[in-house]
Amino acid sequence: MTDQSSFTAEAAVADGALLVAFANGDPTAAQALSSQVLPRVLGQAFRMLQDRAEAEDVAQEAMLRLWRIAPDWRQGEAQVSTWMYRVVANLCTDRLRRRRGRVGMDQISEPIDPTPGPAQSLQTSTRMRALSDALATLPDRQAQAVSLRHLEGLSNPEIATIMDISTEAVESLTSRGKRSLTAVLADRKSELGYTDEQD
């Protein structure tokens, strides 16, 4: 589960202060802030995309946008973590949208990074990729809400802040998204190695 400390007040102040220091030319701020933020960003991207190379591209792009916005950053008005969740979610849904055209949902795409070793590991990575491909079938906002809720473990109020919508809208998006995903994945249960206990 993602470290929820990203939403603590202390972490928020620290990240914001480092970003302001970066904007003021502090040569050490980028390293310090990257050490804090980059693992979270990379993790979020990988959980949505299940592709290390794509996740790294998204992470690098998200950090680049953070550097660029630094001069305009206002301490106290927003949290770096909130802003980064939003940027990464948008970048990931951009990638998933492109994937829709490449992977037909009547087939399961091969995992990009198959883990050599036991068959179970390969099955796990296949399932993870299938989950990511299933997210790609959803409208962007549903995919983002479902990912933030079920992959990042964020609360509905936190997701509402990130997506700049109401809590009720988050509940609606996650509910519809989960229903659609469940239907897509249920059609693949045998391919994904899930057996019906009633068989």
Partner: protein
Amino acid sequence: MNRTDSDIIFDDLFENARGADLKPTDDLMARVLADAETVQSGCAPAPIVRVQKRRHWFQELLGGWPVVGPALAAGLTGLWIGISPPVSVESWMMTITGSTQTVSFLSDTEALLYEELSDG
């Protein structure tokens, strides 16, 4: 397949997909920090604003001192050549025109001070 099994699959998949944050590779960190350095070098210091002075109409006509300077130099050189032409120039002029001509910007008295023996 009943709804409960679907929920189980959904929960199982998402539980497996959640994981600890990934450790960035050294290569990725290096790329991120390189981007930061590029952006930071563009952020600070504040750019120097050059105050554009009003240009004389003459400068505007010719396109500014970068143009006026060489033009002025060329003009002065030509003036000097006319006042004190090198022998080669005189020879060339005699070839072209049959004679050399001297344009004097000096008074007659002053011109006597600079009279060239070869003037003609």
